[in-house]
C-alpha cells in the first residue's frame, strides 16, 4: 500500500507543480497577452487537472475507500473541478486570461488539503453510503463553479473600477460590407479614446472583454453552480434522511449551505433587474464565494456538527 500511496502523492505533487507554473504563465498572460504564455499555461492546467483526477482514482482504486470522505480528498476534487470548469468556460468564451487566478486558488486549495492528509482511514458508518458517491461530488462541483464565478467577478470588478468614470455602454459599430449596422454593447468610448491616446492602462483594459461579456460569464458559472448546489442540498437531505432519520436537522453545514444557496438565489433574482445586473450582482457573487468558503471549510473546522469530518 505504501507504493500505492507514493503514486498517489506523486500525482498530487505533479498537479500542484502544474498549477503553480501554469498560474505564473497565465498571470503573465493576463498582463501581457503574449500568446506563448497562454500556450504554456493552458497545457499545464490540463495536465494538472488530469493528474488530479488520476490521483483521486488511484487512491480509490488502491485503497478501496471512496476518496472524497475527508477534507484532503474533497479539496482535491474541488481544485480539479475548478480547473475543469474553468477550462470548459475558457474554451467556450475564449477566456484564458482568467487562468492565473483559478490555478493559483486551485494550488492553494490543494496545498491546504495536503495538510489534512492523515493517510487511509476507513469511513465512519454514516459515511458508508452510496450517497457519498453522489452528494459529495455534486456539492464540491458546485463550490468549484462558484470559484470560477468568483474569479470572473473579480476581473469584472477590476475592469469596472479601472473604468470608473466611463458611463456610456452602447457604441455604434459600423460593420464593413453589406450596408449593415448592428448595435453592440461594448467597451466605453472613453476607454477606446484613452487607449488610442496611448494610455497603457486603457490599452491593457481593452484586452479584457467588455464588462457585459464578463458579467455573462459570471452568470453562466453561477448557472452551473446553483443547480448543482440545489441538487447537492437535496441529495444531502435524502442521505440525511437515510442516515439520521430526518432530511433536515438544522445542522450547521446544512444551514450554511442553505445560506449559500439563498445568496446565489438572490444573485439570480437580482440579475433579472437591469439596474442591479453588473456591478452589484458581481459583488453578490464575491460575497457568495466567501460564504462558500465558510460553508466548505469554516463550518467543518470551527463549528462542530454532524458534518465535522476533518481528516
Amino acid at each position: 500500500m505504501n507504493g500505492h500511496l507514493q503514486a498517489d502523492e506523486l500525482l498530487m505533487i505533479v498537479a500542484i507543480a502544474c498549477y503553480v507554473f501554469g498560474a505564473l504563465a497565465l498571470f503573465a498572460y493576463f498582463f501581457s497577452r503574449e500568446a506563448w504564455l497562454r500556450n504554456l499555461g493552458v497545457p499545464l492546467a490540463v495536465v494538472g487537472c488530469v493528474a488530479q483526477f488520476a490521483q483521486l482514482f488511484v487512491r480509490w482504486e488502491l485503497t478501496g475507500i471512496w476518496p472524497l470522505l475527508n477534507l484532503y480528498g474533497s479539496l482535491s476534487l474541488f481544485a480539479a473541478m475548478s480547473v475543469a470548469i474553468y477550462i470548459g468556460m475558457a474554451w467556450r468564451y475564449k477566456a484564458w486570461y482568467a487562468g492565473g487566478f483559478v490555478l493559483a486558488l486551485a494550488a492553494i486549495a490543494l496545498a491546504y488539503g495536503v495538510t489534512w492528509n492523515e493517510g487511509t482511514m476507513p469511513a465512519v458508518p454514516s459515511l458508508q453510503s452510496y450517497w457519498a458517491k453522489i452528494h459529495v461530488p455534486i456539492v464540491v462541483s458546485s463550490y468549484a463553479a462558484f470559484l470560477v464565478a468568483f474569479v470572473f467577478s473579480v476581473i469584472y470588478l477590476i475592469k469596472y473600477y479601472a473604468e470608473a468614470r466611463v458611463a456610456a455602454t452602447v457604441s455604434k459599430v459600423e460593420l464593413a460590407g453589406t450596408g449593415m449596422t448592428m448595435s453592440v454593447r461594448g467597451d466605453t468610448p472613453a476607454l477606446a479614446t484613452a487607449a488610442a491616446n496611448g494610455n497603457p492602462l486603457a490599452q491593457w483594459l481593452e484586452t479584457l472583454p467588455p464588462l457585459a461579456q464578463l458579467d455573462v460569464i459570471v452568470y453562466r458559472a453561477v448557472a452551473i453552480g446553483l443547480p448543482l448546489i440545489s441538487i447537492g442540498i437535496i441529495t444531502g437531505a435524502a442521505w440525511a434522511k437515510e442516515a439520521w432519520g430526518a432530511y433536515w436537522q438544522w445542522d450547521p453545514k446544512e444551514t450554511a449551505a442553505l445560506c449559500t444557496w439563498i445568496v446565489y438565489l438572490a444573485y439570480m433574482h437580482l440579475h433579472t433587474r437591469n439596474s442591479w445586473r453588473g456591478l452589484r450582482t458581481n459583488w453578490v457573487s464575491v460575497l457568495g464565494f466567501f460564504l462558500v468558503i465558510f460553508t466548505y471549510l469554516g463550518v467543518n473546522i470551527w463549528i462542530s456538527g454532524l458534518h465535522s469530518y476533518k481528516v
Binding site: E118, T120, P125, G179, M180, R185, D215
Partner: protein, 452 residues
C-alpha cells in the same frame, strides 16, 4: 371603503410582487440562517453566558437566537417569502409567460441590426422566414397599421421555468407542512434483552443484540480508533402482531408500518450489585442504569450517579484510555450527599465501593444499549417531488433562453429592401448578444445583397 381596500390590495401586490422586496427577504432569511450556524442551537442558557459577553448572551436568549429556526422571526420570514413567491407567481411570472405580439421601434432595442437585401418584397420575406424556420424559430406574422411584422420565438416554453421552480418550492413547503400536521418523530433507547413500545404506533421493539466495530488505524497524527459499524439485531412487532427479526444499521433504517427506525446511538448500561451490611438489596441490584442516571441509597441522604462508562483503563496511569474497545472497563461514579457533590471516582468493574453506613456497591455487569430514532413523515413524497420540480425549473430557467426576434421589411433606395431585426429576451440583452451576432452574421452572409 371598497376603494380603500382596493388601495391596500394594490399596495400589497406592488410590495410583495417586487423582486427587490423578495431579495430583501432573502437577505434577512440568509442572515437569520447564518446566525443559526454561528450561535449554537438549543443549549442551556449558561452555555451562552459562558461563551459570549453577558449583553450578547442576553440578546441571544431574548431574541430566541438559541432556537432560531423555530423562532417567530424565522417562521415569519419564511411565511413572507412564500407570500412574496405566490404574489410574484400570479402577478409577474404567469402574466409574463406569453408576451403579446406588438410592434416596436427597432433601433431603440439594444440588440438590433438592419441588412439590405435585393429582390422583390415577397421573395425577401420568404427568404427571411425560411432562414428562421430552418433554425427552429417559431414564426408568426401580424399586420399593424398596414406594416407586416414577423415575430420569431425560440424556447418560448422555457418562459415557464421560473413558474416551475416556484411551484417546486410550494410543493416542498406543502410536504413540510404535512409532516408538521400529521407526522411525528422520537427517540428511544433499548437495552440488550429488553423491549420498548413506541407510544405513537404501539409497535414493540426488542433488542436481541447490539454490536459495534472499532478499527484502530495508525495515522500520521497517531493512533485513531475509527468506528466502522453499528448493528442492532431487533425483533419488531407491528400492527399485524407478528414478531419479525430485523437488522438496523446506520444508513439502513427499517420500515415498520410506514414508520422508519434508524440506528442513532449506543452506550453501556450498568447493573450494580448493592449490599447493605453484607446482604444484597435486590430492588437496587436488579435495576439497569443508563449513563447519566442515578439512584438514591435507602435510609440515607446519598445519591449515586452512574456518569459514564470507560471501556479501557490505561494500566500504567490508571486513567481512561482513548481506546473505545472494551478491554479493562470501569465506570465513573459520583456521589452526592443531600444534593451536594460529595465526590467521584473511576471504579473498575467487579471492585467494590464503600458508601458508608454498611452500604457497598459493585459495578457488576455492563449491557450494551442501542439508541433509535423513529419518524413517520407522510410529507416525504411531496418534498421529493417538489425538489425535483424545483431543480427542473432551475435548469429550464438557466439553460433555455426564451428569445423573441422582431423583423420588418421596408423598401430601401435602389430597388433594395431593408430587413430590420431586433431581439429581446427575458434575461436582458447581454445574454443573447453573441447569438444575435451569429444570427445576423449568418443571415447577412446568406442573403445580404442577394438577387432574387
Amino acid at each position: 371603503m371598497v376603494q380603500k381596500l382596493d388601495n391596500y390590495y394594490a399596495d400589497f401586490v406592488r410590495t410583495f410582487g417586487n423582486v427587490l422586496f423578495a431579495v430583501s427577504l432573502f437577505v434577512v432569511w440568509g442572515i437569520l440562517t447564518l446566525i443559526g450556524v454561528i450561535v449554537d442551537q438549543g443549549k442551556d442558557p449558561s452555555i451562552y453566558f459562558a461563551s459570549y459577553p453577558a449583553p450578547i448572551a442576553r440578546a441571544i436568549l431574548r431574541l430566541s437566537f438559541d432556537n432560531i429556526y423555530h423562532s417567530p422571526w424565522y417562521v415569519g420570514i419564511v411565511a413572507l417569502i412564500l407570500t412574496s413567491l405566490t404574489v410574484c407567481t400570479f402577478k409577474r411570472v404567469i402574466p409574463a409567460r406569453l408576451p403579446p405580439l406588438r410592434p416596436i421601434k427597432i433601433d431603440k432595442i439594444p440588440l438590433h441590426a438592419s441588412i439590405d437585401v435585393t429582390g422583390d418584397e415577397r421573395t425577401v420575406r420568404e427568404r427571411l422566414e425560411g432562414f428562421f424556420r430552418a433554425r427552429g424559430w417559431q414564426l408568426r406574422k401580424r399586420a399593424f397599421d398596414g406594416t407586416e411584422w414577423t415575430f420569431a420565438d425560440k424556447h418560448n416554453w422555457a418562459r415557464r421555468g421560473v413558474l416551475v421552480a416556484h411551484i417546486g418550492f410550494v410543493i416542498i413547503a406543502a410536504g413540510t407542512t404535512l409532516y408538521w400536521a400529521r407526522g411525528f418523530s422520537g427517540e428511544t433507547v433499548v437495552v440488550t434483552g429488553q423491549s420498548v413500545q413506541i407510544p405513537q404506533t404501539k409497535a414493540i421493539l426488542h433488542l436481541n443484540n447490539f454490536a459495534y466495530t472499532i478499527t484502530p488505524v495508525l495515522t500520521k497524527g497517531g493512533m485513531v480508533y475509527q468506528p466502522t459499524d453499528y448493528v442492532s439485531k431487533v425483533t419488531v412487532t407491528g400492527k399485524d402482531g407478528v414478531p419479525k427479526p430485523m437488522t438496523v444499521r446506520v444508513n439502513h433504517p427499517i420500515d415498520v408500518d410506514g414508520t422508519l427506525y434508524y440506528q442513532a446511538s449506543y452506550g453501556f448500561a450498568m447493573r450494580f450489585a448493592i449490599t447493605h451490611n453484607g446482604k444484597e438489596v435486590p430492588a437496587l441490584s436488579q435495576r439497569v442504569l443508563l449513563e447519566g442516571q442515578s439512584f438514591d441509597v435507602p435510609g440515607t441522604r446519598l445519591s449515586v450517579s452512574y456518569d459514564r462508562f470507560v471501556p479501557t483503563v490505561d494500566r500504567v496511569s490508571g486513567m481512561p484510555s482513548a481506546d473505545p474497545r472494551v478491554n479493562d472497563p470501569a465506570v465513573v461514579l459520583s456521589v452526592s450527599d443531600a444534593g451536594q457533590q460529595a465526590g467521584s471516582a473511576l471504579v473498575p468493574l467487579h471492585t467494590w465501593v464503600d458508601l458508608g453506613g454498611g452500604w457497598r456497591l459493585v459495578p457488576s455487569r455492563y449491557l450494551l444499549y442501542s439508541g433509535f430514532q423513529y419518524r413517520y413523515d407522510p410529507g416525504i413524497p411531496l418534498v421529493g417531488i417538489g425538489a425535483l420540480v424545483l431543480v427542473a425549473g432551475l435548469l429550464i430557467s438557466f439553460y433555455f433562453l426564451p428569445a423573441r426576434l422582431y423583423a420588418r421589411v421596408d423598401p430601401a433606395p435602389g430597388g433594395r429592401w431593408t430587413v430590420g431585426l431586433a431581439a429581446t429576451t427575458v434575461k436582458g440583452y447581454d445574454m443573447f448578444e453573441s447569438q444575435f451576432r451569429g444570427i445576423i452574421s449568418e443571415f447577412s452572409s446568406e442573403h445580404a445583397g442577394e438577387a432574387s
